[in-house]
């Protein structure tokens, strides 16, 4: 090594890391949303499922297949030198719930991205976050050629609790996605405040 490392002796800053999950049906625009705000091209991590998948994956007929690959796309936003937010797109297939558990652990909150043509695709995600009381916001991705529904109609169709914010958004648009993420954090704060209230009273 000819080049000395810069700033030898000074330990690197160890930022606080936070994560927000992006869930929703297949093809609803999760990776597009992540890409709209991420400072890096969405990266992909993969997990090979072997033993872990055995009770869940039906491999009859393909007994020779010992591993399955699940991909999770993610992006990064450095808010400050010492504060970094990661966005994780959840794997689409329902049978990877156990990976969701891992992703959801310690998450600040979640965005459930919905397409009004296929609202039923996000039922599972809504249910998941409700059950675990993870604060989430429903983002209705407004595709160009679809009828626009008022947020209230979406709320009713998904049978959401009154407190859950529903935001119309465009997953391709940076400003729009920023707004959705801000809503998630605000909702998480309100959620935490309500939880504290419940404990103290």
């Amino acid at each position: 090594m000819i080049f000395g490392r810069s700033e030898r002796g000074k330990p690197p800053v160890e930022p606080v890391t936070l994560k927000i999950l992006v869930a929703g049906g297949f093809g609803v625009g999760k990776t597009t949303l992540v890409g709209a705000v991420s400072e890096i091209r969405p990266l992909r991590t993969e997990e090979l499922l072997t033993e872990a998948g055995r009770p869940i994956d039906d491999i009859s007929g393909v007994e020779g297949k010992h591993t399955t690959t699940v991909a999770m796309d993610f992006g990064r936003i450095t808010l400050r030198e010492d504060l970094v937010l990661y966005l994780f797109g959840t794997p689409g297939q329902d049978r990877f719930w156990f990976l969701w558990d891992e992703l959801a652990t310690g998450a600040l909150g979640a965005v459930v991205l919905a397409d009004t043509r296929r609202l039923e695709d996000c039922f599972a995600a809504v249910d998941y976050f409700e059950r675990r009381s993870i604060p989430f916001v429903v983002g209705v991705n407004c595709f160009e050629d679809t009828a626009r529904y008022p947020a209230e109609a979406v709320r009713q169709a998904l049978d959401l609790d009154p407190g859950v914010p529903v935001v119309l958004c465009d997953a391709r648009d940076r400003e729009s996605v920023k707004e959705v993420l801000i809503r998630v954090v605000q909702h998480a704060m309100a959620h935490a405040a309500a939880a504290r209230e419940a404990v103290t009273t």
Partner: protein, 131 residues
């Protein structure tokens, strides 16, 4: 490594898949002893004294890669897995080895079921606004 691989007809190099099966790098281990389940956003930081990992012959090239990658800028487990093109499970085992060897340490993200400070959340909101 550039991402200009589209439109190729043949599989070369990385596209042909791994030469070494991923879990061969961990000698078949899927967990490491010291391993507290590392979160995807846990940051790996190279220890100051980990000067020359290549001199340590017990380390695999992938171990050395991790030590070098995390030297100047801490990397999350997810970023390491993506950057090294290895499954998360493999990277976790390798990091566990390096923690045992005291070559790196790992920061703990906010513990589960606990939200970070309200002041941090406010900082996140203003940070997002300022993007």
């Amino acid at each position: 490594m550039s991402g200009d691989g589209q439109g190729r007809r043949h599989w070369f190099d990385d596209e042909a898949g791994p030469v070494v099966r991923p879990y061969a790098m961990t000698r078949g281990r899927t967990t490491s002893a010291a391993q507290h389940r590392l979160d995807l956003i846990a940051l790996v930081v190279t220890e100051q004294h980990a000067e020359d990992p290549e001199a340590d012959h017990t380390l695999s090239p992938e171990h050395v890669d991790i030590v070098e990658l995390c030297r100047d800028v801490p990397q999350s487990v997810a970023e390491l897995a993506a950057g090294l093109d290895l499954p998360v499970g493999v990277v976790r085992v390798l990091i566990g080895d390096l923690v045992d060897d005291e070559m790196v340490h790992v920061t703990r993200p906010v513990p589960p079921a606990e939200l970070p400070d309200e002041s941090i959340l406010r900082d996140v909101i203003s940070g997002l606004r300022a993007l």
